[in-house]
């Protein structure tokens, strides 16, 4: 049976792992290769690297980091942050990424996602959706959660899935960093609306939250950062808990 995936996420800036709360208050959390090796040993199903300070100048640092990580761990790597063009995707794939996450650029140039999926395959293209509740619905935000777009997040996820994105990395900005759990209604709404895979992100504080995201939220994978970085739980503990809840995981 297909296992639900547990994905530790490493926010990186200038080649270091960092962690913020609700997209601010950045603190240093270590060396990316060391973190990747640690998660590999713990049995993580995938790794996600998001360059939160992506800029033209820091591109080479990011490529170098991805190459180094890919030399040490043999599991799928998703890399995102500042991806604007097909050439950025190509460079990241060549560096050793397996999937590339597109966020802000997809909002400004939705056709980029279609072209990227045609050229590199759906399985390679992830669209990151940062959603925030606005009255009775959720809206997409860009630039690391700073700028509203007026775009309905569920409809947007559907469009990106239809354009060929193989996966939607869905972050609730209301929940992110709170440790109060994923936004379950948001996760369920997106999961029910699209054919692509859904990775729930933002707000996980306990293992119970992970089970909720996978069961009630209908997510295919759950992403978490701080609970793993700071050693609250290991991946193995998370999997043992989920397995006991009857959720298929790879032990």
């Amino acid at each position: 049976m297909l296992s639900k995936r547990i994905i530790p996420c490493l926010d990186v800036a200038h080649g270091r792992v960092v962690k913020g709360v609700q997209f601010v208050d950045i603190i240093d959390a270590g060396d990316p290769v060391e973190a990747a090796v640690k998660y590999d040993q713990q049995g993580a199903d995938e790794l996600c690297f998001l360059d939160i300070r992506a800029s033209h100048e820091s591109r080479d640092t990011l490529y170098h980091m991805v190459t180094e990580v890919a030399e040490h761990v043999f599991m799928p790597l998703t890399v995102g942050g500042g991806v604007k063009a097909l050439s950025d995707i190509e460079n990241l794939l060549h560096a050793g990424a397996d999937k590339v996450s597109i966020n802000t650029a997809a909002i400004f140039t939705p056709e980029l996602v279609k072209e990227a999926a045609e050229r590199f395959g759906s399985s390679t293209i992830v669209v990151a959706v940062d959603a925030k509740r606005v009255e009775d619905h959720w809206e997409c935000f860009t630039h690391g959660g700073r700028k509203p777009t007026g775009i309905n997040a569920v409809e947007w996820a559907k469009r990106m899935s239809d354009y060929g994105a193989g996966e939607i990395l869905l972050t609730s900005m209301d929940a992110d960093g709170t440790k109060n759990g994923y936004d379950i209604p948001l996760t369920r709404a997106v999961s029910d609306a699209i054919t692509a895979n859904v990775v729930a992100s933002g707000g996980v504080g306990t293992l119970e939250h992970m089970a909720e995201g996978l069961k009630a939220g209908g997510a295919d994978a759950v992403l978490a950062a701080s609970i793993f970085h700071f050693g609250t739980y290991t991946i193995a503990e998370a999997k043992a808990f989920l397995a006991a809840q009857g959720i298929p995981v790879r032990i």
Binding site: M1, S3, R5, D45, S122, S123, T195, N197, D220
Partner: protein, 210 residues
Amino acid sequence: MKVGLINYGMGNLHSVAKALEKAGGEVELVADAEALKQCDRIVLPGVGAFRDCIGALKASGMETAIRSEVNAGKPFLGICLGMQVLMDLSYEFGRYSGMGLIPGVVRGFPEDHAARGFKIPHMGWNDVIFSSEKEKHPVLQPLEGKQVYYVHSYCCMPENPDHLLAACSYGDYPFAAAIGRDNIVGVQFHPEKSQGAGLALLEAFLQWNP
């Protein structure tokens, strides 16, 4: 042990190369027939669309080169799309001829799969199921009881049941996890992304004497 890793301008060569090196192989990126002749084994990786993959292999002359080396008995491993191009025909984005080294076709998951809650692509860790009536293929033996990493929307359907080496199931739809005959093995999953289980398969491939 020199492994010729086919470089046709697509796919994630870096990952496959690093994994093969970790498994003990000496890897050479190969883009011409002469270089391929000097290799002991052939690995064809693949990410992307069938049409582009077979197109690039034909345009570069590598399709003919691979066929000639494989027919001469050199051990061959196709990964994901590198397995699918072994078939006669694929229905991905149209109808395209493959290399025809394994009789059969490549088709997508059933159309109602996503509507039934089974997301496409089939993405993540899933089983490798062996038939109890057949001897396990030596290259696949390390995968007994393990899960491996799959990412694909299309599946190989070999005509000859003897060519099916292992299966997997997604949403009650069984498909080929591995196919092969003689000196050819193809796997739908990505050994280079399957941590210990994947590296063990690559080691077994490097030691295989068909």
